[in-house]
Symmetry: C2
Subunit: 283 residues, 2 copies
Amino acid sequence: MEILRTVREMQERAEQVRLAGKKIAVVPTMGALHEGHMSLLSLARANSDFVILTIFVNPTQFGPQEDFEQYPRDFKRDEHLAQDADADVLFYPDVEEIYPPPFLTYVVTGEVAEVFEGEIRPTHFSGVTTIVAKLFHLTKPHVAVFGQKDAQQLFIIRKMVQDLNFDIELLAGPIIREGDGLAKSSRNAYLGETERKNAPALYQSLKAAADLIKKGERDLQVVRDAITAILTAGSPAQIDYVAFVDPSNFKNVDKLEGKEVLVLLAVRFGSTRLIDNMIVPLE
Amino acid sequence: MEILRTVREMQERAEQVRLAGKKIAVVPTMGALHEGHMSLLSLARANSDFVILTIFVNPTQFGPQEDFEQYPRDFKRDEHLAQDADADVLFYPDVEEIYPPPFLTYVVTGEVAEVFEGEIRPTHFSGVTTIVAKLFHLTKPHVAVFGQKDAQQLFIIRKMVQDLNFDIELLAGPIIREGDGLAKSSRNAYLGETERKNAPALYQSLKAAADLIKKGERDLQVVRDAITAILTAGSPAQIDYVAFVDPSNFKNVDKLEGKEVLVLLAVRFGSTRLIDNMIVPLE
């Protein structure tokens, strides 16, 4: 596995690989790799000839009060995991290499970036779309792989790819969970012992909602109440939002109808914010 | 010369050409081709193996009160000129092909897009950077050619290319002028007879400024007054701005010092707005 650290090296290598007629897949990450990322790397491997893993803790997607400094970083561990996953290139640039000052250009996606996660983290998604556009230009992929866990991020990146005519196929990897249902996340490391014990409530509440809907429940308030009851039962969880959106446009639905609904959760346990989601069929 | 009209066709053709190891140059235009565009096509031809001319009157760079509807369009004439210039592909998409609704994603460049042209045309440059990013993804060029006449546009596109890591070399074509010095522009067609007679004042004032500076004048106000005097002598020209900027950051200078200064003009003759500029060496 090659480790590349500069813009120039990465672009030259990607260009070589493309000219050789090989298909490139990129998996953009912030490191602190876990089984979720490993499953994205498998998906990349299965759908390409050349896998690029990028590790970059992107400052522009963190707000001023957020955890940019504390975000877990362990390059040696990540390097071994990338090797195990059979990545061809690990791209691991410095912040100065990616954002040489003065940096002026951002990719923005309007109102879909201002709701849910974007309401709580106002500059988050412009940071995400900007770094992803840059990483696409740096790694020149045919295929890019993102996790379904960050559902709004996935929707926004898909919209950016369509709107800006990136000639890139997006693949979404399913949410990977712990044995008790907690979605894998680098931020799970922040959870205290009791918080960790309560955190599976997110998945339990999503599963309960899916069960209700499967049994024919179509009253949105009934489903919402069931979710809230599980999230708050015996735990000090603070709910940021419970939302029901149309996966085709990421807008709130006011009725449970159509093909499917995407249920979104964001919940705080102490200072740790967890998100989770589930696509529930309605037909 | 091939004429391509869809996103899919254009991307497939560009990909083929790149895979064959050929170097692509793109010249993005809004049509109404004149000798200025022809010189950009020559520059493209001289620096590549495969020249793509794009013709697209881009609605997102026009304000609501501007001339999108009246902007001159003559595809048959443009087609012949493109053929004369030995373009390999003419990409000529419909608005619906480029902006399928809902369109949410824009490329923005902050404060440099809010001064000079951007102050008078607030959404202009986000429209420009967005369409240029899209055209880059559609035509996959190694080289892109723009005219020096739109100096701020050139600066902003260069900044976007750097900031977003487009792996594209930008070439700037010099300003092409009529015999009397008026910079070639598709909008010159709007000028009435008297306005056309007065319009060369822009170039005359720039030349007078350059002569003064060459002779050692370093008082900015003296140079500015000389420009204003020529622009307003015997003509009803209305000055939008006369500006002196540092070409490295596009910021106003308050002293004539350093390597060079870029003098920018925007002037109205009746309802027609003309811009012109000149890079003047200071050493």
